[in-house]
Every structure is written in C-alpha cells, then in structure tokens.
Amino acid sequence: MTSTTEIVHPSSGSIRFLLNDREIALSTVAPTATLLDFLRLERRLTGTKEGCAEGDCGACTVLVGRLVAGKLVYEGVNACIRFVGSLNATHVVTVEHLAARDGTLHPVQQAMVDYHGSQCGFCTPGFVMSLYGLWLSKDNPGRADIEKALQGNLCRCTGYEPIVRAAEAVATARPDAVFDPILKMRDRVRAFLSGLPTGETIVLGPSDARLVVPGSARALAEALAEYPGATVVAGSTDVGLWVTKQMRAINPVIFINGLADLQSITEAPDGITIGAGVTYSLAFSTLARRLPPLGKLLDRLGGDQVRNMGTIGGNIANGSPIGDTPPPLIALDATVTLRSVSGTRTLPLQDYFIAYGRQDRYPGEFVESLFVPALPADEHFAVYKISKRRDEDISALCAAFRIALSEQGLVTSARIAFGGMAGTPKRATAVEDALIGKPWTEETVTAARPAFDLDYQPLSDWRATSAYRAVTAKNLLLRFYLETSGSPAELVRFEAAE
C-alpha cells in the first residue's frame, strides 16, 4: 500500500459487515447505494421506513456498531443517507432483530406498546431504535437524556408524551434476565470485527463508478491524487442529500468514516487536536468539558443520528455559510490542517472560508485535522444558536463571542464570529473594534450596536428575514454581556442538575 498504482487496481477487497445475525460481503457496491434501499429492496427488511430521505425524520433509524478504540459502540444512524460503501467493519442492527425468535418483544418495544407510544406506527420502528440505542448506552436516563436521544425522530401523531413515558418506564424497570440481541451476540460481533484486516484499502467498481475505502491517511492522499475530483464522504449527512434529493453524480467516492488515522482527539495544555473524521458524538465529551458553550451547541446540532455520523471536519470542509461549528471555532482562533500527497499546510480557519461556496482547499487536498487552542481561564466565551425550532434545526444565525477583560474591566481583546449573517461564517471586526479598549458595560454594548450593520448585511430567506437577523445579532451581544455580568437571561428547558 505504498504507491498510487496499487489503488487503481480494478477491484480489491469487499465491504464486509454484519447485518443483524448475518455476515455480508459485497464485492460490487454502487458508490451511492444507500443502506435504506439495501435493507428494503435487497434484503426485504421493510421494518425500517423511509420518511424523508434526508436524515431529518428518523423513521429509518438503525443501529450501527463499530469498534472505537477497541470498544464495541452502537450508535443510531439514518439509513436513508448512510451509504452501503461506508459500512465496512460494522454491525448493522435493524428493528427486525430486536424481538426474540418466539416473538417476545424487547422491553423497549413492550414499553412502547404498554404506554400507547404508537399511533399510525410509521415512525415507530425509528423511535424504537433510538430508544434502544439509549437503553444500551445509558443507565437510568433522565428526561433531558430522553429528549436528546429523540431529537432526530419526528412523530406527527402522539405528541411524544407517551413515547417519553415509555422511555422512562423502560429506563427504571430493567428486568434482570432479558433477551437482548446485541448483548447476546456481543462476543461474536467483537470477534468478527476484530478479525477483519486493518489498514487495508478497498477499491470497488469500474473506473466510472469507483468506490474507495482508504486504509490510512496516506492512502487517502494517494487516492485523492489519483481522483482529484472525487467526493470525500465522512458522515454523509450533507453528501447524502446530494444523492437522494439532487440525484447528483458524485463518483468517484472515497469513504473515510472508518479511517482510524483521522479519528483521534489529542488533548494538550495548549489546545485540542481533532481529527477530521471525529464525529460530533465522539468529540462531545472532550469539547463539552473543555469548552462548555461548545458542548451546549453540539447538544442542539442535528439529532443523535446526525451527530453519530457527521464530523466537525465535514462541517468545515463543505464550507456551508450556516454550519454551526465554524463561528465558535473562528472565535477560538482554531486552525485547520490540510493534507495532500505533497504534504500538509495549516491555516487559520477564518482564512479557509473565502466566499460563498469557495474554500481555500486545492484539488487533492483533504481536511486532516483541526486545532482548537485552549481558552485562557480569564476569558469569556459563549455560543448562541438561533433557529425556528430549538432542536434539530439549521441556524437562522449562530453567534460566537469571546472577550478578554483587563483588571480594570476594559475589553482587551474580542473575537466575534457569526454564521447565517453572510456568505461565509464571518468575523464581526467592526463590532470587535467598537468594544476593544472600552469598559465592558451595557453602555458600551449599546454603543456597539450600529457596528453590526458595518459587518453584516444579512439576507432574507425561509429561516429568517434580514431584519430579524440584524436585530437578533445585536441583541445577542446584550445577552452575552448579561451572561458575563452574572445575570444570565436565557430560556432553559432543563436545569443543569438534570
């Protein structure tokens, strides 16, 4: 696996995974074949439903198990935007697998029946799988945990109340001896997954429908050199829609979600290095601990299914003007490292976004990692996301504020960035200038309001009007001031203790 010529071998290897209790090995896979179609059309496993085909409704939720640092982890994902080519070395669990052979329902399923958690039933398999994922991963979850676990599942009939009751009931009443398909086959799954070759690059399909699963970062660089126009797919939470909605041709495709080289999180006193392939879910605990406002933001980014698939690297690589993580990362002065066969280069994240739809990334380059400098203990930092619906919504605007104060209470530095206010995530330099050197008071904050209009001329769209974005951005600076001066004023659904 050292030269690019090896990668262009017509076909080598196969996509191997477990589907419920069966081993699957696919040597021909269309790069854009989705897991949902594979389940429903090829395997006739029709319990998993298509509600939206864009990863927003959760009716297609299945669990995907994989080894993360040697530990077997199961996570809910949206099968509709998960590509079959990304399933190598996983265990896919569908709703059909939950009940015992004799038809006895799993406690999670039985609770949904007992508490009248289904009406039309179409979303139900997805809810069952999300609740099952929670059941596996958390003992005795509270209401906040349950609501978070259900952020990626839409139900139009029940109003959710009976589903939450079912989740609470099954959380507190776990029978000692219970049939559980995953617990039962844990050893077998572990043996299967650890028995698969590591570091091997899989190349499938004819040259016009090439699918590459690189086994190392180096192999990824080589593959990109070979196919500079290839689509690099990590979580597919965005690319999935290019396929299901826009029906775009994205060949050739390089799947990097299983690439261990890109999945490390390294903590150091001066900051955190996050591999581009780290999912939001895996980054959560570190980020929430080191930078609590970022944890709060991640709690409201997508639903669990999206957080389990999507990566911060992807959020940056795709250059969306409304991506949620760039504003805080810019405020934190994060840097991004790009890699290609000719080496790596590192640049400030704020310089990476050039204009709408344009980033400073050459063909053949990929985002390798991100470095987030540590926040000095005496600095104030906050992130505010404003959306029509509180959870699992795209920001109308997303604000990140960071200031340092002198002992006299003067603003010594300010880094402010917004998403949703311009064609790219963008610094509010005029506002920063209006604050720096001034006393951190409400008068200063009020006086800085006009500066927003110098920084931003936001657009009107279906998420918000220009006027709303402009007013709210200014008001959020006041919210930040109030928060830093000890009188926070923000709606809270659950107290932190919960």
């Binding site: 429903r40 029709t46 319990g47 439903k49 509600g51 939206c52 864009e54 927003d56 009716a59 569908t94 709703v95 059909e96 939950l98 038809g103 329902l105 399923q109 949904m112 029946v113 007992d114 009248h116 289904s118 009406q119 039309c120 039933g121 179409f122 979303c123 139900t124 398999p125 259900l150 952020q151 599942n153 839409l154 139900c155 139009r156 009939c157 029940t158 109003g159 959710y160 109340e161 009976p162 589903i163 939450v164 829609l241 909605k245 029906m247 029509k388 619906r389 509180r390 959870d391 795209i394 769209d461 279906w462 009007t465 709303y468 007013v471 959020l476 919210r479 109030l482 004023a489 709606l491």
Partner: protein, 779 residues
C-alpha cells in the same frame, strides 16, 4: 399453574369504554406492520415519478420529452393526452383539477408528465430531463396578491348573518377593528403518498392507496380510465398518518398508477419523494381575517363583522367546505348577538389547499379568540374574564343561537372551564406571572385559558352515512369490515371494541380487515372526526341484525321466548342454559341461519341550507379547554412551553387511552401549526420549506414541559351516539390556541398589557420578536 383460563370471566376482554392498546401496536414496534410500500412487489412491477414544472403560472409552449423517454429503464411517459377518458380529478366536480397539466401551469411544482420506469430511481432521474418552454403569465401567490389581481374565487363564498351587525356595530359603546394572518400547515404524515395499481382482466384494476377516502379514489380512477366504478377496487389496511392530507390528495397518484398499469398491463407503484409530496400536494389553508367587534365597557360583545379570506391555491378541491367551516367556528364558544361573517376563497398560483384536521375550523376559532384578546387589552382585563362573559348560555337562555341559526343544546363550556380554572390554579399562577414579569427584564411569561367548541358532522349532509360488513364464521370467529380507514387514530380498534361489546365476545375473536370498496361501497372519507361515530353505529347495526337472527333461532330451538335470551361474556344465556357463543353459532349455521350482515347508519336530525345560511349542520358539539403557560426571551423571540393543562370532552370515552392519545397528539400538532411550522414561498411562487430540514414540526423537546391531560369524565353525549361517546380527532387540535395567546400575553407585558400584541400565526421566534419590538415602540 395458571388457572385463569378455567375461571369464568365476568366481563369480556376489550369491550367498549376500556383502555385498550392500538390493534397494531405490537406490529408497529416490531416493524412488521405492513404499509403499502412494504408489500411484496409482483414480478414486473414498474415505478412512477412526476415530471414537475417550475413556473407559478405559465402557458406550456412546448414540451420535449425525448431525453426522458431515452433514459435507460424508462418504459413510457404519460401526459395529459394519455388519460384514456378524462384528465380531471376535481373532488368538487368543478372540472378544475387536471391529473397532469394540459397546456397551462398554475402553480410551481405542478406535474406536467409522469415517467414509468423499471426502477423508482430511473423514473426519478428521467423525470428531470424534460425540456419545457414556457410563456410566463402573471402570478398571485398570496391573499394580498390575489386581491390585487382582481380577487378571483375558486368557489362560491358564504355569508352567515344573524341580527343587524352593521347597525349594532355603530351603536356599540366601543369598537375595535383589526386583522390577523393565520398561516397554513403541511400535514407531514410520516408516510408520504403512495399508490400501487395491479391490473386485472377486462376493465378490472385493484389499487392499494394510502387514502382516507377509498371510494373517491375508486371514482376518480374509474372516471380517468372511463370504466364503471365496479371495475375498480381500492384497498387500504393502514396509513402512516393522514390528518386530512390523504382525503383528496391521493387521487393523482392513484390515477396515474392505474392508467399506467392498464396501459402496460404491469403493476405500477407510485411513491413520490418527500420533497415532491410536500411541493405538489395541498396543505392547510392560510387565512387573512379582517374583523371588527363592537362591545361594551364590561367586555360583552354586541356585534361582530368579519371576513375570512383564504389562500385556496389554483383549484377548488375542498376549499368551499373548508372556508365554510371557518365561518361555522368563527364564533368560538361565544354568543354573538349580531353577526355577519363572510368567506373569501381566493384563487392563487399555489398548490391547491385541502383538508387538514379541523378543516378551517381552527382558523375560525383563532379569529374569534383574537377578538376576545382585543376586547381584553382594550379594557385592561384578563382575557378569561372576557371569555366567560361571552360564552354561549344554556339552552333557552336567549344566548344559544349560532351565526348559522343552530341552537346550542348541549353547552357544557361553563362547567368545563370552571373545573379547569380551578384544577390548573389559573388565577394564582396568573398573579405569580404578573409579579414575575414586573421584575424580569429579558424573560417574560404568559398564561392563557382558551375554550373549544367544535361542531361534529360533515356539513355536506349526504356524507353522514356509513356501512359495515360483519361475518360470523362457524367457529365463532368474527370478521369485521367497515368504510372507515385507519391512519393511526385507533378507529379499527374502537370499532372492534364496539363489535366485541355487541356480541359480548373477547376482542381477540374479532378480525379487523383492510378497508376495501369491494366490501362496503359508497363510503365517506374518514374525516371530520366522524369515523367512530358513523362506522361504529354501522357495525353495531350489523351486529344487531345477526344477533336478532341468533336470538330468533335460539328461541325456536330452545323453545323459549326472545326476552329470556341474552348475550353474556362469550356465551349466550338461553333460558336457564348457558351456551358458549361458538356453539350457538355452529348450530345456527346448520339450521341455515344467515351469519353475515351489512350494517348501515345515517346521522339523524341534521340539515343545512347553504343558500340561506341556516340549518342544523352539526349533530352535537365537542368541548374542551386548555391552560398554557409559556416563557419568552424578549431579545430573540425564542419561547418555551412550560406547562399545559387540558380538560377535554369526549362524552363517554370508548377507549380513554386512545382518546388521550388523540388529545395529546392533536395538541402538539396544533401547537406546531401556531408556533414553528412556517410555509415560505419565494417571489417565484416556489415553496422553499418543502422538507423536514426547512419545515419544522414539533420535536419531543418542544412539547410542554409539564403536560396534564384529563377527560371530562362527567360528560356524556346527549345524543344517541355509539356508547354516548363524542368525536375526538379534530376538537383537541384547537386547544393549543392557548399557547399562542400565552405567548401573546408575554409579549403584551413589554407594553404594560395596554395594547393587544396582534401576534400573527405561526408565532415563530421572529414573529414574537417583531411583536416585542412593536410593543417597545408603543411604550
């Protein structure tokens, strides 16, 4: 050893008035409940996709479909000309709804052709390859633009009037005039539309359709094909949600699938993508309500004059009865001594709006509650005080006539609201909130109690009929079929309970079977909350007939009289003898007794004359009330629903578990309509909120933090409905108007409660913040 099976049970399992799980619940959770897309596909099944236009209003100059036809896997392309008999599927029979656009496009996303291909993927990809040349015409997207363009209507408007509103308005001590915009709503059933047509011999065709109205799909398919209705069989076991969106909107998919299936003699499945479903099927009507209300210093209404203008879309569909029902509910729970209400069903270049839970009624009630708010803020009083002052009176009080001249005979709103006011601690909490707001700078709270009175019956009198077909087999097992459809509301479960109760057998003996036009003909849509009322009575009628035959047979065989025969749990008591139900059935069979019956029901008492605006369109009213408490952030307009208390009237509940599910679910769905669910068209008339990524229905974390739902257990339907129950589908949808009004109160606090915030719906964070900003200016 479990001896329970040997003990005689005193009651049956699953009779009426029992908490019983949904009949398919165990299948829902196991993924084994089959929806139409889950059915095995016969060999040779083809798939359809729509070719959509991208102009709001245009003539089609030319349409080049050669690239579509040439795409690999495409079998044929259908256009309007390929409809064998008719290209029209107008449910109002006004000939204004083409299956496929014929020379003229009237909304962005209207289908101009359909592709039939070997795979769904091929059909979808090919559908994008058409080259269409348009000649653009001026378009009107909303009510304002439609009026500016001349105010063309899709159907005849309605006026309801009683007394002399114009004169009394002049004489009223105080008057307020205003307007309110009330948004539409996408149904967002989780299962999008689907039709699966399987051709048969001769003219025959069977269509599996996700529809609330199999008979209409049958008629439309027959009409388009030019075959008699008896050649078309339409079936549906369950839908993944309907909410009105599958009352007429499935016709297009079924018709195209059927035409293609007959033309090609192969099965054809048609499942549009979610985005296409949202772009090209109708939604709840949005309204502009212009009102004037005259009242006195106490807050008592003297006169109301209001116009309800609706964006109907490009065709009539159900807009006539929808806008009628808005007027029927523009009185809320209030007596208007003098009133004049007018509808304005405007034609717009948008998708044709359609039925949606409440069918215009909620928009009418929202308008009524806005007028109450206006009075309260004008007088500086609590809205609840104004509400109570204006409630309908008892029968015969002189305050019991609706604007359509129906007497309200069953009014329980006074007691219901009084009960809730107390159980929810309304007054104490309101006082706390006023105190909180006085000292809280950024976060403000609001609380509101709103009532619901909802008229039950189709306003089209003929629709208030239903049939059921019941077979008892020799082993005593029972086969149930009726004209209602199951979309999650638990109708099948409730009707099975009715049958179990009638025969006094355990419900597991009753097999619930898919709705099909072949078993029960000429059915009405499962709509207007009427499913249980109508089909329950029809099933009970079928059971009655079979029971009468069994009793007559038993009386003869056992040489006794009918009055000494009764149905006990799983047995029939004949004189002194206790005969197992199945044994009696077997003997009856050998005695050649007919063990099958077709039941029928029509709602008594109702009549309605649209021309005079007078009648008794509703058999009875369902009532309810809710108290909602919210917090808002006056910097961003964000809000949170802190607590909701509901007391709702379902008469004597047939199944409290299912009814509470309807109330909770209806509440959250209605809350979504009034808060985060915003339909947004751009200036080209393109709907930009056409997927769950952009159109935001409530999540688990949006539901009230504290949610107490109770049934008014003391209520019983005064009319002879099935088990004295009341309809439950639509009425609770109106309860979350209390959320909108609670938000409104929180906003009003910014202006010292001296001005009505005039908060439009949906009250998105933006809408709330802008109202807050208006209040700041008012200071």
């Amino acid at each position: 050893m479990d001896t329970s099976t040997f003990q005689e049970r005193k009651t049956i399992r699953g009779g009426m008035h029992k908490n019983l799980r949904h009949d398919s619940a165990h299948k829902h959770v196991a993924g084994s409940a089959d929806y139409i897309d889950d059915m095995p596909e016969p060999a040779g099944t083809l798939h359809a996709a729509l070719g959509l236009t991208d102009r709001a209003h245009a003539e089609i100059v030319s349409m080049d479909l050669s690239a579509v036809e040439a795409y690999p896997g495409v079998v044929c392309v259908l256009t309007a000309r390929d409809m064998p008999h008719s290209n029209d599927i107008s449910p109002s029979h006004l000939d204004d709804e083409p299956v496929l656009a014929d020379g003229r496009v009237e909304f962005h996303g209207q289908a101009a052709f359909a592709v039939i291909a070997e795979t769904r993927d091929a059909a979808r990809r090919a559908a994008r390859l058409a080259s269409i040349v348009y000649n653009d015409l001026p378009h009107a997207i909303d009510v304002t633009q439609a009026r500016e363009a001349g105010g063309k209507l899709v159907t005849k408007p309605l006026t309801l009037s009683r007394g002399d509103a114009a004169h009394e308005m002049q004489n009223a001590p105080r008057r307020v005039k205003g307007e309110m915009r009330i948004g539409g709503q996408e149904h967002f059933y989780l299962e999008s539309h689907i039709a699966f047509a399987i051709p048969g011999e001769d003219d025959d065709i069977t269509v599996w359709s996700s529809t609330q109205h199999p008979s209409e799909v049958q008629h439309m398919v027959a009409h388009v094909l030019g075959v008699p209705s008896n050649a078309v069989t339409v079936q549906v076991r369950r839908m993944g949600g309907g909410f009105g969106g599958k009352e007429t909107q499935g016709n297009q998919f079924a018709a195209i699938a059927a035409v293609a299936a007959k033309k090609l003699n192969r099965p054809v499945k048609f499942r549009p993508d979610r985005d296409e479903d949202m772009a090209c099927t109708g939604k709840r009507h949005d309204f502009l309500v212009e009102y004037e209300v005259g009242f006195d210093d106490e807050g008592r209404i003297h006169a109301v004059d209001a116009t309800f203008a609706a964006r109907c879309g490009y065709s009539s569909d159900l807009s006539g009865p929808v806008t009628d029902r808005a007027l029927f509910h523009a009185d809320g729970a209030y007596f208007y001594p003098h009133v004049r209400l007018t509808s304005e069903p405007l034609k717009t270049n948008t998708v044709s709006n359609t039925a949606y839970r409440g069918f215009g009624g909620p928009q009418g009630i929202v308008g009524a509650e806005r007028m109450i708010e206006e009075i309260a803020y004008a007088l500086g009083k609590d809205t609840l005080e104004i509400r109570k002052l204006n409630f309908y009176g008892e029968k015969g009080s002189g305050r019991d006539l609706t604007p359509y001249h129906q007497q309200v005979e069953d009014n329980i709103i006074g007691k219901l609201v009084a009960d809730l006011e107390e159980s929810a601690d309304y007054q104490e909490r309101r006082a706390d909130i006023l105190a909180f707001n006085a000292q809280s700078r950024i976060i403000r709270k609001g609380i509101a109690l709103t009532p619901v009175k909802f008229g039950i019956s189709f306003t089209m009198t003929a629709f208030n009929q239903a049939g059921a077909l019941v077979h008892v087999y020799q082993d005593g097992s029972i086969h149930l079929n009726h004209g209602g459809t199951e979309m999650g509301q638990g109708l099948y479960t409730k009707i099975a309970q009715v049958l179990a109760d009638s025969f006094q057998v355990d419900i597991d003996r009753v097999k619930i079977t898919a709705t099909t036009t072949g078993k029960v003909p000429n059915t009405s849509a499962t709509a207007a909350s009427s499913g249980t009322d109508l089909n329950g009575m029809a099933a009970a009628d079928a059971a009655r007939q079979i029971k009468e035959r069994l009793v007559a047979f038993a009386a003869e065989r056992w040489q006794t009289t009918p009055d000494r025969i009764s149905f006990a749990p799983n047995h029939v008591i004949i004189g002194e003898e206790r005969v197992p139900f199945a044994d009696l059935v077997k003997q009856a069979y050998f005695a050649r007794i007919q063990l099958s019956a077709a039941g029928f029901y029509k709602t008594p008492k109702i009549h309605w004359d649209r021309n005079t605006g007078r009648g008794t369109p509703f058999y009875y009213f369902a009532y309810g009330a809710a108290v909602s408490e919210v917090s808002i952030d006056t910097l961003t307009g964000e809000y949170m629903v802190e607590r909701v208390d509901v007391l709702h009237d379902v008469g004597r509940s047939l199944n409290p578990a299912i009814d509470i599910g309807q109330i909770e679910g209806g509440f959250v769905q209605g809350m979504g309509w009034l808060t985060t669910e915003e339909l947004w068209w751009d200036d080209k008339g393109r709907l930009r909120t056409h997927a769950p990524s952009t159109y935001k229905i409530p999540l688990a974390s949006d539901r009230p933090k504290i949610f107490n739902v109770k049934l008014a257990e003391w209520s019983e339907n005064g009319e002879e409905t099935i088990g004295r129950s009341k309809a439950v589908g639509e009425p609770p949808f109106n309860l979350p108007i209390s959320v909108l009004e609670a938000i409104s109160m929180a906003v009003a606090s910014v202006g010292g409660y001296r001005r009505c915030p005039r908060l439009d719906a949906p009250a998105t964070p933006e809408c709330v913040l802008m109202a807050v900003e208006r209040m700041r200016v008012a200071l």
